[in-house]
């Protein structure tokens, strides 16, 4: 699978797909998308890079511990869920706020969005953690 064509396409795709996955994550509340889809997209493109360029080569300069990613995601999601208690609301109560920012116009801030970011990190971390371990296995 490591032909010149796939290598070149992967190189071009990588940044685009990552940006697209972030946009899916942020747009999720009102448009198709969300943390899960964004996360799987991110994970797929990294997985593609691993496959095309070889795990060992990629690891020589880019080797994050994906375990930390899903740990962080789970923590973030749980904290968002519990945060409502600190403001003496029910567990998992979400809050919505609209603010005006220059250039962006009206921006919606949702606490559920933070939760979605947690999901995003868990999906990326979990999938790539599995992927890398299966790939590393001889």
């Amino acid at each position: 699978m490591t032909t010149l064509i796939t290598k070149t396409i992967t190189k071009i795709c990588l940044p685009l797909v990552i940006l697209f996955s972030i946009s899916l994550l942020l747009a999720g509340h009102n448009n198709p998308g969300g943390g899960f889809i964004g996360g799987v997209m991110f994970a797929s493109v990294i997985a593609l890079t691993y496959v095309v360029y070889g795990l060992d080569y990629i690891k020589s300069f880019f080797d994050p511990d994906w375990g930390n990613w899903f740990g962080f995601g789970l923590l973030l999601a749980s904290v968002t869920a519990f945060a409502a208690i600190a403001f003496s609301h029910n567990f998992f109560r979400s809050a919505v706020e609209f603010i005006h920012l220059p250039f962006f116009g009206e921006v919606e801030l949702v606490s559920a969005g933070l939760f979605d970011i947690g999901v995003y990190f868990v999906v990326i971390g979990g999938l790539l953690f599995i992927f890398k371990n299966v790939g590393d296995d001889r």
Partner: protein, 789 residues
């Protein structure tokens, strides 16, 4: 800070601060023990903050709603009893964690050790301050689990693992009995709230006259007895001595084993004053006291002697809490409470000494020791005071509570009349005699006599102050409580006794109170104790012989047999249930589906297909379906793995296409991505195995498989037809609720996403937690396999 906040913080701070302990460890390195001690000290201060209010006769009670619909709340209740336990747990916690700095080698996994100690301390504090029986149960089982981890701290030693498993099996199972008892109690009284039952005499009257009274009592008592190693459940405690010595001192002498005692004291006002209470609690107590005291003779391990002595001493306390009559519900309460406090001081002290001795001599076998008094003078003095307090020698605190024990026994006996007026005091003295004998053995065997010529290191000396200071502090308490009993009595015992008896209590405890029956009994104890000690080794030998001859007269024999059997049966069962090939599991699942559908279908005997079927499928969908069928056939029939996998993923993409036609863009996107990723993973894995299907499928198997697949497919088809035609569930669809409310309630236009992250966020949290666990599971599978190779 108000007292309720202080108590809540005292319970939860250890958990939170233990959570960040690994991060702190990076800064402090091997000094991390001092951080843990500081956390324990903080809890101690917080408990002390709440204490004055209790000592002046008040109680603290407040709850935060948790599951209000079921009457389960996060609620804390503090009275004298809880505060005294709070002080014991956090105070001994500080002492033990400081001591561990000297005891634990720097090479050990210190973060794990201190983290679990702090978790334990938090659970224990949570338990003693729980106002709700369900909450009490949760913290109760948490102490069992942390105890399990700490006993098994040295994971590679088979005996640690054995001891840890034993303690978990017995204490956690006992906890389940207790839970059952609490549920019956709830059924009778209608509440999970302990203070409500304590404050309502009418509820207690209903309970006392209820036919399930005895059952409730027995169930809860089994929980208490298993935790406090009473009756036949004692067997886990001696094996728990495989834990690091500070752990034994903390959990298995001073605190966790007292959880059962705590429970008995907590339910004392609810159940006492009945015959059942006396016979159950005191009966089991006296029996355990004598048996464990007697069995201590056989032990050659210092910690073994201490373990049996702990069981016996806990049985004293249990017995005293059991002393009750209808008119005098709390004869032994004051004595029991005082002994509880004293036992925590002298037993923790003796365990610390055992740790010091083992640390310096590298053995715990008392037969190999002797004559260490010259080399370890300070340890010798500390140990002597501790052991003499346990033996009940004046003017130490053990003497006072032992006298009170005798006094209570005499009173109880005389209230019951003949033959109990002789029997109970006599048994009490016998228990005291055993205690006296093994206490002397500890001093004599380790420190007095001649130093054995071999087996001990050449240079033995007192340890550093890090290890000595905690023990010396405890000795200070032993002497202080003995000489000035009014300090503990006024601050701890009186509030506790008032909390248990639900009335103001005033006690006068003095060293000397004339020539009374208890004094006479003490003197008899000393004389008989010395006589027994002269026969010590002979008794031990006789016990060994007896044990070798009748191995089946022992609880351990039955425990081991039961556990071995269980292991055999479960391994046979799981071997049969999990033969390996996935096809077998699929077959079971599919057959189950068929039966689940077939039974109601036959019973109802209704027509399976609605008569007015309305198939209005656009042409483009039909084309997709055709392709899907081809892809599915390809996946089933292609002879090589790679084309088959590509067929499967083709099927997946076609499904995604279908989702787009059905106007579900989120689903389509997810489907495409998941399909891509799983194909990549599949292909990566598949290149490593042979590329041709080797399995030869016979015609019979093929027919059978085809039949089952066809049946399942038709069932799914029928179910779907019925569901989509709106026939089977005559219910309204839920979707309109989400469509209407997603914007106003959650501020989002994308309903699917709002459902995932908001309406059903709790589900999602569970799902991502599962994903994390799955990732860890895969990791462990791969790692464990490469370890085997």
């Amino acid at each position: 800070m108000d007292s309720f906040t202080a108590i809540t913080l005292a319970v939860f701070l250890p958990f939170i601060l233990a959570g960040i302990l690994p991060a702190i460890e990076k800064l402090l390195k091997e000094k991390i023990g001092w951080y843990a001690s500081a956390v324990a000290f903080m809890s101690l201060l917080l408990v002390a903050q709440a204490a004055p209010e209790i000592i002046h006769g008040g109680t603290i009670q407040k709850s935060i709603e948790w599951l209000p619909s079921m009457g389960i709340n996060l609620s804390f209740y503090a009275d004298g009893l809880s505060i005294m336990f709070g002080f014991i747990v956090s105070g001994i916690g500080v002492i033990i964690m400081s001591y561990s700095n000297g005891y634990m080698s720097k090479k050990e996994d210190l973060p794990r050790y201190y983290q679990q100690l702090l978790f334990f301390m938090g659970s224990m504090l949570g338990m003693v301050f729980s106002a709700n029986t369900i909450q009490l149960f949760i913290f109760w089982e948490l102490t069992s689990i942390t105890s399990f981890m700490l006993i098994g701290y040295w994971r590679n030693r088979p005996m640690s693992v054995y001891g840890a498993t034993k303690s978990l099996l017995i204490t956690a199972a006992g906890g389940l009995f207790m839970l059952a008892g609490f549920l019956v109690l709830h059924a009778i009284t209608g509440t999970f709230d302990i203070p409500t039952i304590l404050q309502n005499e009418s509820i207690r009257d209903i309970l006392h006259s209820h036919e399930l009274f005895i059952l409730t009592l027995v169930l809860i008592f089994i929980g208490a007895a298993s935790k406090s190693a009473q009756g036949p459940f004692y067997i886990w405690l001696p094996n728990a001595m495989e834990a690091p010595t500070p752990v034994s001192a903390f959990l298995h002498s001073a605190t966790m084993v007292k959880a059962g005692i705590y429970l008995i004291a907590r339910i004392h006002p609810i159940f006492s004053g009945t015959d059942a209470w006396f016979f159950l609690v005191s009966g089991v107590g006296i029996f355990t006291m004598l048996l464990a005291g007697f069995l201590a003779f056989r032990q050659t391990d210092i910690k073994g002697i201490l373990a049996y002595s702990t069981i016996s001493q806990l049985a004293y306390i249990m017995t005293m809490y059991g002393y009750t009559t209808h008119h005098e519900p709390g004869i032994g309460v004051a004595a029991a409470t005082f002994h509880l406090l004293n036992h925590a001081t002298f037993k923790a002290c003796l365990f610390l000494v055992a740790g010091i001795v083992a640390h310096e001599t590298a053995t715990r076998d008392i037969t190999k020791m002797g004559g260490l008094r010259k080399e370890m003078p300070i340890t010798f003095i500390v140990a002597t005071i501790g052991a003499l307090s346990m033996a009940g020698i004046p003017p130490l605190n053990g003497f006072l509570s032992k006298e009170m024990f005798y006094e209570a026994s005499v009173e109880m006996g005389s209230l019951l009349g003949s033959p109990y007026n002789i029997l109970i005091p006599a048994l009490a003295v016998l228990g005291g005699v055993f205690t006296f004998a093994y206490s002397i053995k500890l001093i004599d065997g380790i420190f007095l006599g001649k130093r054995p010529s071999k087996g001990l290191p050449e240079h033995i000396h007192d340890p550093s102050m890090v290890m000595l200071a905690p023990a010396i502090f405890l000795v200070g308490l032993i002497v202080l409580f003995g000489l000035v009993p009014s300090i503990p009595v006024h601050n701890f015992i009186e509030p506790t006794v008032s909390g248990i008896l639900l009335q103001e209590a005033h006690l006068h405890i003095k060293l000397w109170h004339g020539f009374t029956a208890p004094l006479f009994m003490t003197i008899v104890t000393f004389i008989l104790g010395i006589l027994t000690y002269t026969q010590y080794s002979r008794i031990a030998e006789w016990q060994n012989k007896f044990n070798a001859r009748f191995p089946w007269i022992s609880v351990n024999y039955y425990y081991d047999a039961a556990v071995d059997n269980a292991k055999n049966v479960t391994s046979k069962f799981s071997n049969r249930m999990q033969p390996g090939p996935i096809k077998t599991y699929m077959l079971a699942l599919l057959l189950l589906t068929i039966t689940m559908f077939a039974i109601p279908a036959i019973l109802l005997a209704s027509s399976l297909l609605p008569s007015d079927l309305n198939f209005d499928i656009p042409l483009y969908e039909i084309i997709i379906y055709l392709f899907m069928i081809i892809a599915a056939l390809g996946a089933a029939m292609l002879p090589r793995y790679v084309p088959a996998i590509i067929s499967i993923s083709g099927l997946g993409y076609l499904v995604a296409l279908l989702f787009i036609y059905l106007q579900a863009p989120d689903l389509a996107l997810t489907q495409v991505l998941v399909e891509t990723l799983s194909t990549i993973i599949f292909l990566l894995a598949i290149v490593k195995i042979p590329q041709k299907f080797k399995e030869h499928i016979t015609k019979a198997t093929l027919t059978k498989d085809l039949l089952i697949s066809a049946t399942v497919a038709s069932i799914v088809f029928i179910l779907l037809i019925n569901a989509t035609q709106g026939i089977v569930p005559p219910f309204e669809s839920l979707s309109h609720y989400f469509i209407e409310n997603s914007l106003p309630l959650a501020g989002g236009h994308n309903i699917v996403n709002v459902i995932i992250v908001d309406f059903r966020g709790y589900d999602t949290l569970g799902e991502i937690a599962v994903l994390c666990l799955a990732a860890l599971g895969v990791y462990n599978l791969i790692q464990s396999r490469s370890d085997d190779e």
